[in-house]
Symmetry: D2
Subunit: 355 residues, 4 copies
């Protein structure tokens, strides 16, 4: 609930966008796991803004300071606390927002719930919070790798540019080679163009992030309310701007016939396997040994460089034009966040299942 997620492996995050720091506590992480800090910093850097012409020009200092739980590069089994200090805070940019609610943002709902809010940069609702998820997810990802499990997210749609090819034909290790994080090199240019064009028009774009988990053994996930897909859905829908989740054929199941999409069983290498994977690697909430395949839909960034109607704290109607530096599309930077949430969820389920 609230600011924590997970059962056995539990991440608690804290921090406002323009407060002192964003941080997290990862509890339940196994002892004696070697952590490569170098790789971790690379992974965290992927979420950072200001990396390309495509993303916001804010410079965020994403230097992670680990405070506990790791000694000499090895985990202790105790909670791993870490913080990322907030730098480059042009809080004055946000002064206008003390009084005015940005439409399609969380300003009004936080005010309604708490009767107070940190108006600077979205406060607690800012996507900056996801830096803590990426740090924790990177730790989870390193342990998953040691267990033979890989998690790969990638951009599969930006605006109307859509990846139609299956991930099986693509090289998912190359995702971060381009700024849009699309593994199909043929789509990098059109996606980049779509972003540039939207920016020129002071507009923003939505899109879809896909994610594949490979190497997960059968038997991971819990029955009924603890289904693996329920945990994944919850994790993904907790990402700012995420509006939809599906797995396997997902929404495309709706107009398919059962006979077309049954995943028949065969024996392969002495293991029970399926001929197809329409189900997306999960049956009855429990992994079946096939790849877990899922998608997360993102709405267009709500901050528009255009005038929009809104109201203020005192209930007066007014208008607002966004200032500051903002992304055109959440998707490229959401790729490492989806990856992190998948890694945390899958590792949690593995630990719960005794793997």
């Amino acid at each position: 609930m609230k600011n924590e997620i997970g059962n056995i492996l539990r991440l608690t995050t804290f921090g406002e966008s323009h407060g002192v720091a964003i941080g997290g506590v990862l509890d339940g992480f196994p002892a004696r796991v070697k952590i490569s800090m170098e790789r971790l910093r690379e992974q965290v850097a992927r979420r950072r803004p200001g990396q390309s012409a495509l993303t916001t020009q804010r410079r965020e200092s994403d230097d992670v300071e680990f405070l506990s739980g790791i000694m000499d590069g090895v985990t202790l089994g105790t909670p791993i606390g870490f913080i990322v200090r907030n730098a480059d805070q042009r809080s004055a940019d946000y002064d206008e927002l003390r009084q005015v609610f940005r439409p399609s943002h969380a300003d009004y709902t936080y005010q309604a719930k708490f009767g107070i809010r940190d108006h600077r940069g979205g406060g607690r609702a800012s996507a900056r919070e996801t830096v803590a998820r990426v740090v924790a997810g990177a730790l989870a990802g390193q342990l998953l790798e040691q267990k033979g499990v890989t998690v790969s997210a990638y951009t599969s749609q930006i605006g109307d540019v859509r990846l139609e090819r299956s991930y099986a034909e693509l090289d998912l290790t190359a995702v971060y080679d381009n700024d849009v994080r699309c593994p199909d090199s043929a789509l990098v240019a059109p996606m980049t163009e779509a972003l540039a064009s939207a920016r020129m028009q002071h507009d923003t774009l939505g899109g879809i992030v896909s994610c594949v988990v490979s190497g997960l053994p059968a038997g991971v996930g819990e029955p009924v309310f603890g289904k693996l897909q329920a945990c994944l859905a919850s994790a993904m829908m907790s990402i700012p701007a995420a509006k939809g989740f599906d797995y396997g054929l997902g929404f495309d199941f709706a107009n398919r016939r059962g006979s077309e999409v049954v995943d028949e069983f065969v024996m392969r290498d002495g293991k029970v396997r399926t001929l197809t994977n329409y189900s997306g690697g999960i049956q009855g909430g429990i992994s079946n040994g096939e790849d877990i395949v899922m998608r997360v839909a993102f709405k267009p960034i709500a901050t528009l460089m255009r005038e929009v109607k809104t109201v203020d704290l005192d209930g007066n109607e007014t208008t607002l034009v966004a200032r500051g530096r903002h992304d055109v599309c959440a998707v490229p930077r959401a790729v490492p966040v989806v990856e992190a949430m998948a890694a945390l969820t899958v590792l949690d389920a593995m630990l719960e299942a005794g793997f």
Copy 2:
């Protein structure tokens, strides 16, 4: 985790399809709430199979016995325990399944996880478990109504017959007047036909259930990992055969521009309201006072009256033809289940928020 859901209002369910009973414990339900048992039994009956030519001809006894937590029709604030005994168990129908895994079912994954399973009728993974959700959801729904909140689910797609009209133009109180549970009377015949045709071909269909929550005040839902949409997604994805969840424009956001879909604020009747509701009633995880609008995609029923390839417990490849009595499409009977999960989730969030 596992067999329970909710934070303040917590439902635990138990029971295998062909065991003694399916049951539930609803803890955290407020005291002094009047419960109409008559209405509750009506709501539970909606989930029952054997109601029409469209659904399975199994007769399930869905008589609910309340064991605790309610005295003289009023809740005590103590846990509400209830059971529904399993009758009409033609368990012998399932003898073949001791040895063989049904494809696209949970037989293999339960075996992989637990090393044992109740093979009769899906055991714990059977959709029969949802009767406990519907009982608990009916209790939640009655309290929500007393708080001015209504939850309405309905069939919006069966196979390729799709409801295109907005719920705002339809009468959601009429959903249960027809067997397909579609509020657009013009679609009842085509949906019924699609089901009949699939049954004739020994095939099955997928579809979509939509759900609307009206009357929810602003300020319900928790930040970050406790976002209302994350809780709803988890609840919905825990329903058997559910494969996707979205809310507001959902996956359709992917190819929309920000300027098209911003929900501008206005004042209406002294309240902050939005001009449009693309967001689906939630911003930053917290309700904004508009309708909560969501969809849940269901795969076609996996039990086919056709021969499918599979393997047995000993790792031999074999084939299987389903017997017994099965639905063609999960959607009509999933409507009350989606409604129940929405009611439980929303009431839980309201109680957490102090409403």
Copy 3:
């Protein structure tokens, strides 16, 4: 919280004393565990009243009906639901209590909290609820035994008759051979006499239940807030009428010097062991391989066959003389309840630690 306990192994109970049934759901119990129903019924019978002249003459039907989670005597890994129906309900005995609060009972506090209460026999606050704990504890105990862990509770004090000998000198398997549940046969007569004398005087007695867990390997328990002693304390203090918990030397540590009570380490049979066990088998919240030794203090039964001052629902001062059939001392019947709570807590911690 509320009506459930445990992390991995989770027990939820429900039921009022004079409602339809008392029941429980035990979730997280491992699969493929053989359960002896015969032994279980024996263990449950130990809690039942009406067994001797010492305990209340109410006859409670303690027939357990298992509803799920066990097939052919073997656990399925799914939740184990069970109920014990309430029979012999002389509810009319309690009519007077609709209006009047029994002093030192939960009548007033339930009314203050919920604004309603089931006045019959204590309702939810009745010690009858513990039958569900004993059922679940018996299941836990059987699995613990299979893991080489035994849990033995016994009466160590009734009124001013106190067991001074160490459990190491006594035969804890003989506890249930006498009605006071004291393993020192020399104390059975004086304890029985103390009970009889109190009953004659229409009075009641307090006492202490001790409990020993043997065979627990080192490494069970969690650091900081999940300490094994914190979990045990919480479990024990949730028993009706329990007023104190300590372990190892407990309160007697207060006036001891460190040099007297340090548990020095030695090697024995290739294992790290302690020369003494003042600590009671736990260091830093984690078991060290020695016996876990603890005590639970119980207050005298609050129901007195004498006139006591009280107030009624309308705030009028009045008096009350208890009627009905009541125990003189909670301790003998609390012995199996303490045992159950210890078994549940220790098994939960073992499962969490991966044993």
Copy 4:
């Protein structure tokens, strides 16, 4: 479980004694609460060592840095993250402990559980972790005060010097006026002497901390497993070196008769009150409006300046003489920790009960 405590108000702590920092995240704290940082720092200072001749001469920097959740001295309703950096780390003092387990400490059990441990100053098991509790407890205490509830802990026994007077006759606001934290000024000298004498003999002492919660309304606490005394017991038994908990008459109930200790009801100022408070302010797990009265027993500090037998990591028997700077008795510095745990638990229960 593990490193977090609480239901609605949830504290997660992290940090090893000689790591970078000790920290905490307090989630669920209400919004719009004014916090006095000055008072908070005073309260945190009470736990700090090096304050008097009685306590360890280690100088710990207990400067709290708040990282989130508070803006302009007012809480935001978002998680309050904070850290206290570890300074004055003479880690070299601890080099010997890499290989050797200190008896009656958590060295061996952490090694058994995790297969690794931070050997410096007790690592995660160090009482230094309690600084995070005191910070969080001070926040809780300030809100409790605004709600009219006060929490006062005090030393009631050190070695064989025991406070016999009731708290009702003493001034609990004067507890921190002396170094032993005893509100009976007549006992300050004998307690101080007992401590000095033990130190001279290179020995240590146990003792008891008592705690009183005043002003709590009736109706706080949950039934069955969520009883207020169960939550308090768990919180107290999670404090390092705590070995026993009781409330009301506690263990002294054991040899009392029911007729002596029944808390009869009367009306006072229009409220239901009790004539006596043997019960310690709780009936059936729920507060009755009287003072909550409890005790926590502490064992003598296990670190002795004498030679003790022990074993090393390789299973060799050896001996150890403690070096470094250590307290003689945990009690004086445990007083603010007990107070903190009581404040956190009571506030959590109040929030759960809707106060």
